[in-house]
Subunit: 118 residues, 2 copies
């Protein structure tokens, strides 16, 4: 039985890889559809070429993302989600929707916390 | 309209804080019920005292976690989730269940990837 709580469990490693900032954002973007590298980089605001490339390799290795090379001239390389990747992206989309809808509540909480000054 | 994709949006900051390894694991643990600091530290295998303390402060400031001091001798300090924290933890539990159930699939994907050697 694997559990995300245990230091050496495979599901915890996966959680760390997916839970990285760029992992989450790349999966969310690919949840919208297939992307070419540069378009994906524009969608994930602020990511460097190197970080996005590393992130996609990790996600491809984990079986969440597929990299497809179309033999056109010049070759077209597209990234998309696998079946498992879709499920993970759906789950992350739920989290992102929740956070996007809770910004005011969280911002009010931060103001209260900072005003306490303890 | 806030979006996790935009670099300076509040929901992206929240996603980064919650999506941090210890943020996810602390929220998942507190989803099981209230914890005292040391018990929580044992549950979240591998976290240092300092990292857990910082993580809890961030989550408290974001309005996801409540810190309650009971005036016993010695004082008992308990951490639990707020209403918003419960919602976020539920969402993360869905993700963790998915990953815990996909360990074999992900491990097979990694072996295929590494065998390609490209």
């Amino acid at each position: 039985m694997t559990t995300v709580f245990a230091r050496h469990c495979a599901s915890r490693t996966a959680l760390e890889e997916i839970g990285s900032k760029w992992g989450i954002l790349a999966l969310l973007a690919l949840g919208e559809g297939a992307y070419r590298f540069n378009a994906l980089r524009r969608r994930v605001d602020g990511v460097s070429e190197r970080m996005l490339s590393q992130t996609l390799q990790t996600l491809e290795r984990d079986g969440l993302v597929t990299r497809e090379v179309h033999s056109t001239i010049p070759p077209r390389v597209e990234y998309s989600l696998t079946g498992l990747g879709e499920k993970v992206a759906d789950s992350l989309r739920g989290l992102a929707d929740l956070l996007e809808g809770s910004v005011a509540e969280m911002s009010a909480a931060r103001e209260r916390y900072d005003a306490r000054g303890d």
